[in-house]
Amino acid sequence: MITRDKARAEIPPGTLEMLILKTLRQFGPLHGYSIAKTIQQTSEDVLQVEEGSLYPALQRILLKGWVTAEWAQSASKRRLRVYQLTPDGREQLDREISQYRRVSEAIERVIRPVTEQPA
């Protein structure tokens, strides 16, 4: 158990929102539990969402108007709150992804081994 946890990485701060938005774009409307599971599964269990922290993040993007929430009933008659991406959220996701790419490429350039740099 402990060893398996160590193999997993904490999500870098500020990227959780992006992951949520991306997940919603890819899989359509989802409830909190399946958002958490989906992130874990698509990252092949590398990214570990402290599942509860999903909820403050969901509240933040609700406030910004990037997602809407609606109560729905599951097949097992359970009431579940389902989140859906809004057009604003779609735009925001694009912005965040390109921002993330820029930053990670920059970081990549910095940490690339010195020898590989052109002289």
């Binding site: 539990y33 402290e50 922290s53 909820y55 403050p56 509240q59 108007g65 109560w71 709150r81």
Partner: protein
């Protein structure tokens, strides 16, 4: 837009907070349940599955709190923090807080008090339903003697108006009247109105008890009924509901009480306590003529008709009526008509203007106070430069700092506003004392509004709160902005000397603005006071000392008995110990109403218009009116002897220019009655000190049989005799109410109340602003001297004398004052042009006025700067140079 959407979502959450919490709770629980189910499916025991799910989830309570936090009103929290911070800083400088709050409280209170009067008198004098549609419908008379004046309707003309009318849904007529209510403990004279049945329906007032009038009661045959005001019902009838249907005696006749009107309702006159239907009017005037103009009219505009259209329509209708039956076939007078919004119509135009001018003055005082506070704030900002610079350097945003610096003045303003609202109640009481407690005479029909009913109502309180908030932001914004935008490095280095010329310049500009405003107020007050004192010293042509006047309403229903009552009243009053002279007259000096009449004069082609009064022989002796030619009336001028008149000097000049009027004749065109001029008396200003001396014809009360006032000149205090005089009247007729008991001095004072109000209040405002300006000048120069300590030290070390230093400071002050005069004097002149219609015997542009006010301002400025300047001369150069 985005900002707004977020705000909306936040508000939505704010207003269903438990909904939000429940949703979150349920959502998290569902998550835990699903997780636990999954764990169980993976083979865990039920308890273990649940515990694992909770571990995986994290600290649920903390997460809920974090989620909630997202929706919190961050600026609300910041505001609360700034608020506490400002409160702390203010508590550390109680002197500043006290001065600031007191300044604001006083000026806000003054503004609130004046505005409340404007609100009650000018803006919202009545609370009728649909008052915006109601209009005063009137005739307009243009005559040579008095110019153009609005006039009331005669009964036949009003009937024609109702028939021809196109612009109004309904029209109502009414007339002010006084009733004698007898059969109660003391016979009472009650102010009231005779109204047509439409009146109450039109203004939307229903009876609180019983009913209002019905249409049948407009007819001559209508039953004799009256309505009572709430006050009269509670006063004279003890609030007894059994009064309905009861027969009471009004003007000696039995009438039935049909209803009681709601509390506070005093009719269009603002004074009424009793209402009678038009049937009462028709009983009083069985054959009303076209020329008996004594009915006022109200109309409610049809939807879709604009006030302007209604006005034009009435003008056209009256033109039509005049074409058919001219009111004045001989020419001379021109009759027209019009309509104006009811809310504007019944307001005393002179008072309205005075009040707005006064409001302007009180706003000026507030502005001047704000300037002082802005200066104080600038000084505080300077003292805190280092602290603010450190906070900026530590990363506080300038916006946050601005907000924080603005919180302090806003807090002061709210405190000042709250104290001001309390003070405003007192201010209003004082102001109410300066307003007349009853109606005063004027040509236009003015609604009386009882100053005792003035209250600071909720909309006014909100306005006051906004006003003080605005004042706070006004005096806080510049210092706050400056503090928040100061250079960091400069601030960190700076001591007092780094204060910078920009700051001094700003403060000087503020003082200049303050002095200019003060000059405007001073000039205005000076003109009003001059005008008022000119009024007070105006010779009325009649002496007013130690005279008391009153009238009574005998119960007798015929003129002869009535006349006999007054003759006897005069005779017995004259014999009363302590009475010097007693006389009867149907008009009083300075009281106003004069009954105009048209005369023909021997040797002249055209008819002349003149005021006319009936007086008893003692009148001239009582008022010490000189007889300049011929003789006054005597007891020989009786009903049997030929008709005689005494005319005023103005009348003599106008009717008989360059001739001796004594022995000449005048004739009344209606009756063809001739009268011989027996004497010429000095001019008396019946219309008050402002009135022009117009022609007046006196005839003898012994011959005419008219009635009016008993006037008594006493040897001692005239008020002390009123009891004895009342008993005289009651002995003559126990049913006769005695009323309108006033001394001539009260009457004369009442004639100038508007001018007194303007003079006193503008004087107070000007004094207040002068004091504030003095404080402002003192503050700025104290600061400037402190800031230049080193400068002065160097100069004195280099040989400047104390006199040189003193002169430097005073010169600065003189420059500022001079600069203030540049906009101040033209602005004062502008104001005086605004005032000129209110002025009496004072030229609005008189140089003496501006010289004295400028002189006053200059000397106060000098005094205010000389104290700090003397401090400058006492600087020890050695100390100053060492001192940072």
């Amino acid at each position: 837009m985005k900002w707004w959407n977020q705000m909306r979502r936040r508000l939505a959450v704010l207003f269903r907070r438990d909904g939000f919490d429940r949703d979150l709770e349920e959502e998290m629980q569902a998550h835990l349940d699903l997780e636990a189910e999954e764990n169980r499916r993976n083979g865990m025991a039920a308890g273990e599955a649940r515990r694992a799910a909770m571990r995986q989830f994290g600290n649920a309570a903390l997460l809920k709190e974090t989620s909630r936090e997202t929706w919190r009103w961050r600026w609300g929290d910041n505001l609360a923090r700034d608020f506490r911070y400002a409160l702390r800083t203010l508590r550390r400088s109680p002197g500043f807080a006290a001065v600031a709050i007191a300044t604001l409280a006083l000026s806000v209170a003054a503004n609130m008090a004046v505005f409340t009067v404007i609100y009650k008198v000018v803006l919202r004098p009545v609370d009728y339903r649909d008052v915006g549609r109601l209009m005063d419908v009137h005739l307009i008379l243009t005559e040579q003697r008095r110019g153009t004046i609005p006039m009331s309707w005669s009964y036949p003309k009003f009937q024609e108006l109702v028939q021809l009318n196109r612009s109004f849904d309904a029209l109502a007529a009414f007339q002010d009247r006084e009733f004698t209510l007898s059969g109660v403990a003391i016979p009472e004279r009650v102010a009231g109105e005779v109204v047509s049945a439409r009146y109450f329906r039109m203004i939307g007032v229903a009876a609180q008890l019983g009913r209002v009038f019905v249409d049948q009661e407009d007819q001559a045959a209508g039953a004799p009924v009256v309505l009572l005001s709430d006050a009269l019902w509670r006063g004279a009838f003890g609030g007894d509901p059994g009064v309905l249907g009861r027969a009471i005696r009004v003007d000696g006749l039995p009438v039935t009480v049909a209803g009681v009107l709601p509390p506070g309702f005093k009719g269009e006159s603002g004074l009424a306590d009793m209402w009678a239907p038009m049937s009462a009017y028709l009983r009083q005037y069985p054959n009303p003529g076209r020329g008996g103009h004594n009915l006022l009219a109200i109309g409610s505009r049809k939807p879709g008709v604009s006030p302007r259209q209604a006005d034009a329509d009435v003008r056209q209708l009256v033109a039509q009526m005049e074409l058919r039956i001219p009111t004045d076939p001989h020419g001379g007078d021109k009759w027209s008509g019009g309509a104006r919004p009811l809310l504007e119509a019944r307001v005393d135009p002179a008072l309205r203007k005075s009040l707005w001018i006064l409001q302007g003055a009180t706003l000026c005082v507030l502005l001047i106070g704000c300037v002082n506070l802005a200066n104080l704030m600038l000084g505080r900002g300077m003292a805190r430069r280092r602290e603010l610079a450190i906070r900026l350097a530590m990363g506080t945003s300038r916006g946050a700092l601005l907000r924080q610096m603005l919180m302090e003045p806003v807090l002061v303003a709210l405190g000042g506003g709250a104290v001001g609202l309390l003070l405003a109640g007192w201010g209003l009481r004082l102001l109410a004392l300066a307003l007349p407690a009853g109606r005063t005479f004027q040509f236009e029909y003015v609604r009386f509004i009882d100053p005792q009913t003035f209250r600071i109502e909720l909309p006014l309180m909100i306005l006051g709160a906004l006003l003080s908030l605005g004042a706070g932001i006004l005096f806080g914004i510049v210092p706050a902005w400056q503090a928040a935008h100061a250079g960091i490095g400069e601030g960190l280095r700076g001591g007092m000397q780094a204060g910078g010329p920009r700051n001094i310049g700003l403060r000087n500009a503020l003082v200049v603005a303050q002095m200019a405003l003060t000059l405007v107020l001073l000039a205005g007050a000076d003109l009003m006071i001059r005008s008022f004192s000119a009024l007070l010293t105006t010779n009325l042509g009649a002496e007013t000392h130690r005279i008391v006047t009153m009238t009574a309403q005998p119960s007798a229903r015929n003129r002869v008995a009535w006349h006999a009552f007054f003759q006897e009243f005069e005779r017995r009053a004259a014999a009363l110990p302590g009475v010097d002279v007693a006389a009867l007259t149907d008009g009083l000096p300075a009281y106003g109403p004069d009954n105009g009449t048209t005369l023909e004069v021997e040797g002249r082609e055209d008819a002349v218009q003149t005021g006319d009064f009936a007086v008893s022989p003692a009148f001239f002796r009582l008022f010490r009116v000189p007889i300049v030619a011929g003789r006054a009336f005597d007891e020989q001028d009786g009903p049997a002897s030929p008709l005689v008149v005494v005319i005023s000097e103005s009348a003599a000049r106008r009717f008989f220019p360059g001739q001796n009027p004594v022995g000449r004749h005048i004739e009344y065109p209606q009756t063809r009655q001739q009268a011989e001029v027996k004497g010429v008396a000095g001019d008396v200003k019946f219309g008050g000190p402002r009135a022009e001396d117009g022609p007046v014809v006196y005839y003898s009360m012994r011959q005419s049989g008219a009635n009016g006032y008993l006037a008594v000149r006493t040897t001692g205090d005239p008020r002390a005799l009123t009891g004895a005089l009342r008993s005289l009247a009651h002995a003559l007729d126990p049913e006769a109410p005695v009323f309108a008991v006033r001394t001539m001095e009260e009457i004369a004072a009442a004639a100038t109340w508007r001018e007194r109000l303007a003079a006193v209040l503008l004087g107070v405002m000007a004094a207040l602003s002068l004091a504030l300006a003095a404080v402002g000048i003192y503050g700025v120069f104290s600061y400037a001297v402190a800031a230049r300590t080193r400068d002065f030290g160097v100069r004195m070390a280099l040989g400047a004398t104390r006199g040189n230093v003193l002169a430097m400071v005073v010169r600065d002050c003189a420059t500022l004052t001079g600069v203030a005069l540049l906009p101040g004097l033209p602005a004062a002149l502008g104001l005086s042009r605004l005032l000129s219609s209110q002025l009496f015997h004072v030229n609005a542009a008189n140089p003496l006025s501006y010289l004295t006010t400028t002189g006053l301002l200059v000397s106060v400025a000098f005094l205010a700067c000389v104290l700090p300047a003397r401090r400058a001369t006492r600087i020890d150069p050695a100390m100053a140079l060492r001192n940072d």
